[in-house]
């Protein structure tokens, strides 16, 4: 660490920049400090801040897993000031990284359970490390049903990994888009409807879900219909954040800070918050 000031990022380098979709890039970030490359440890669901120096910093979910030591990866959609600036950067550019922050998907509690992993659009990025983690520890978990939904086929993120996931033992991948194109032979349907059709059993199962609010809303309704209880449904909350340290109070909701008490909550916890985001 360059200093013991928690606001000062670790200097890092963009080792690889890959287009995942027209407006989403995958940044594979390598710490400049060799020791940190080895020691930087985190769990699926945690997040970090990326700095585009001179423009600012913003929080992004870490989409890699810690066993992958070479780089720490962030899938960033070009949507705000900082993400625009990051998208302008080329390979080998210097960025800053702070993290890891927040709690994580409770991978320990998920052991022995069937998983339904649901990601919509860029919301797939924070659930991706759940998949990687499960595949790396395959025998510890039950069946895994993955839903990746997007507006169009070219908006589906992590397409290069679909074959790996689909062919993994005890794992099923379902892709769906709202609108197809000439080359798309897969499903054209809304994700909540596909979920109903596949009818996953809530028995000994948990679901992790992330996506746009409207998708979450309708998917939650369907999950309830399928018999999933609030305690079985986990999501990660997005919020304005400036510090990640429980200080700036931007992500304060009820008596929680999303940056420290979250970003992962189950719906039983969310429904207990006095204010509903």
């Amino acid at each position: 660490m360059t200093s013991d000031n928690p606001f000062v990022p670790y200097p890092a380098t963009l080792k690889r920049v890959t287009d995942l979709t027209l407006d989403v890039k995958l940044f594979c970030v390598e710490f400049n400090d060799h020791v940190l490359r080895e020691s930087f440890d985190y769990m699926p669901g945690q997040f970090g801040f990326l700095s585009a120096y001179g423009v600012g910093e913003a929080p992004f979910g870490i989409t890699s897993v810690a066993s992958h030591k070479e780089t720490v990866d962030f899938a960033v959609r070009q949507v705000g000031t900082v993400s625009y600036a990051l998208h302008e950067l080329q390979q080998e550019a210097t960025v800053g990284v702070r993290g890891p922050f927040g709690n994580s998907w409770p991978m320990e509690d998920f052991k022995g359970k069937n998983l339904v992993v649901i990601g919509g659009g860029i919301g797939f990025a924070p659930v991706r490390p759940v998949i990687t983690w499960v595949l790396e520890n395959r025998e510890a978990y039950g069946d895994m049903l993955i839903f990746n939904g997007a507006r169009t086929p070219s908006d589906l993120v992590f397409a290069s990994e679909f074959d790996t996931w689909a062919s993994a033992p005890g794992t099923k991948l379902e892709l769906t888009v709202d609108r197809g194109d000439d080359s798309w032979e897969g499903r054209v349907a809304l994700l909540p409807d596909v979920l109903m059709e596949l009818n996953p059993s809530p028995k000994n199962a948990v679901t992790v879900i992330c996506g746009p609010p409207i998708m979450i809303k309708f998917t939650l309704e369907k999950l309830k219909k399928l018999g999933f209880e609030d305690e079985q449904i986990f999501t990660t909350l997005e919020s304005k954040m400036k510090c990640g340290l429980g200080k700036c109070a931007r992500c304060n909701v009820g008596d929680k800070y999303i940056c420290q008490d979250g970003p992962v909550f189950n719906y039983a916890q969310i429904s207990q918050l006095i204010e509903q985001f």
Partner: protein, 332 residues
């Protein structure tokens, strides 16, 4: 026996202190009285009214550079700012001292805010008890009071032409060495009476009326000017931004307020707290429910009355406290 110092000896002591340290005290600035770094101890103003702004800015400045990034060989090197000044904050009122101790909670919670802690460690607090109640204060209802000595290093109380001295901490004792004080047989004057608010069962009541339309009704006239947060000794929300001055990049932290429309707005446009009622409610609930819960602390209001005095549309936190007692839980 009480240790006292005459006004004249107080000034000569402060003059001596000023040779070693920076003194921050209330001084006149145009029509306002503000805490400022002083160059002459004669400029210090110790009237009955409190300063327009709380002294929180000497620990949590309005804007402060967290670090600078200097370009070298095409790479960035992060150079954190460091502070090296000792400060005496003189003449702060018990409500403001309590405000500082309250915002210690978030800033000093692990991992501590480095700059805040440095400001705090380098500052000795010399408080001044209130011998007259101020117009809109309600400190006694918020766990403090005009003679509260618990959050300062030294507390002075005006007694005739002198000040009675209560030394609270070792820091205070060290600072006072060299002052010409006397032991005399006077007792501290009784603190003035401050009007009380009905706070019994306030939190329990507030939990039930979160969804009452009251919040939107009160906030209807709010201009979201943020003055309530800026004058408040305990409002501590902040923003962080980068400034790029011809390649010299500064990351700056600045005051922000939950009353700003964009406070919770995220990239892409979603804003979970898009209406004024929800934002006004957030400020109140953060102070009275969330903060005590999060930090196992008292309410984050010191009853200084500044937001009452400063609000251009007369939104009155005392009125809200009174109103809550008679609000009904919404029926849905």
């Amino acid at each position: 026996m009480t240790q006292v110092i005459s006004k004249q000896d107080l000034l000569s002591w402060l003059g001596k202190v000023a040779e070693q340290r920076i003194i921050v005290a209330p001084v006149r600035d145009g029509e306002l009285v503000l805490f400022k770094e002083i160059s002459n101890v004669e400029d210090i103003v110790v009237g009955a009214a409190n300063t327009v702004l709380s002294p929180k800015e000497f620990f949590f400045p309005r804007s402060e550079t967290l670090f600078t990034v200097e370009g070298k060989d095409g790479t960035s090197e992060v150079v954190p700012v460091n502070l090296d000044r000792e400060v005496v904050l003189f003449g702060l009122r018990p409500c403001d001292a309590k405000g500082i101790v309250l915002i210690d909670k978030p800033f000093c919670a692990d991992p501590a805010d480095t700059l805040y802690k440095q400001h705090r460690a380098m500052t000795t607090l010399v408080g001044l008890a209130c011998t007259e109640a101020c117009a809109d204060g309600f400190c006694t209802s918020m766990g403090s009071g005009p003679g509260d000595a618990s959050n300062v290093d030294i507390l002075l109380t005006g007694v005739g032409d002198s000040y009675a001295i209560q030394v609270i901490t070792d820091n205070g004792k060290a600072l006072l060495s060299g002052a010409k004080t006397q032991e005399v047989d006077v007792s501290l004057p009784a603190p003035p009476t401050v009007s009380e608010l009905p706070t019994d069962g306030l939190v329990e009541k507030a939990e039930k009326v979160f969804n009452n339309e009251y919040w939107s009704r009160v906030a209807d006239r709010c201009l979201h000017c943020n003055v309530c947060a800026y004058v408040c000794p305990t409002c501590y929300c902040f923003d962080i931004r980068d400034y790029n001055d011809r390649g010299r990049i500064q990351r700056v932290r600045a005051w922000e307020s939950c009353q700003s429309p964009g406070f919770t707005k995220i990239a892409g446009g979603h804003n979970p707290r898009a209406n004024k009622g929800a934002r006004l409610r957030q400020r109140w609930y953060h102070k009275f429910l969330y903060f005590p819960h999060q930090f196992d602390a008292e309410v984050a209001c010191t009853g200084c009355g500044r937001c009452v005095r400063s609000c251009p549309v007369n939104i009155d936190i005392r009125e809200i406290i009174r109103d809550i007692q008679s609000l009904e839980a919404p029926s849905d």
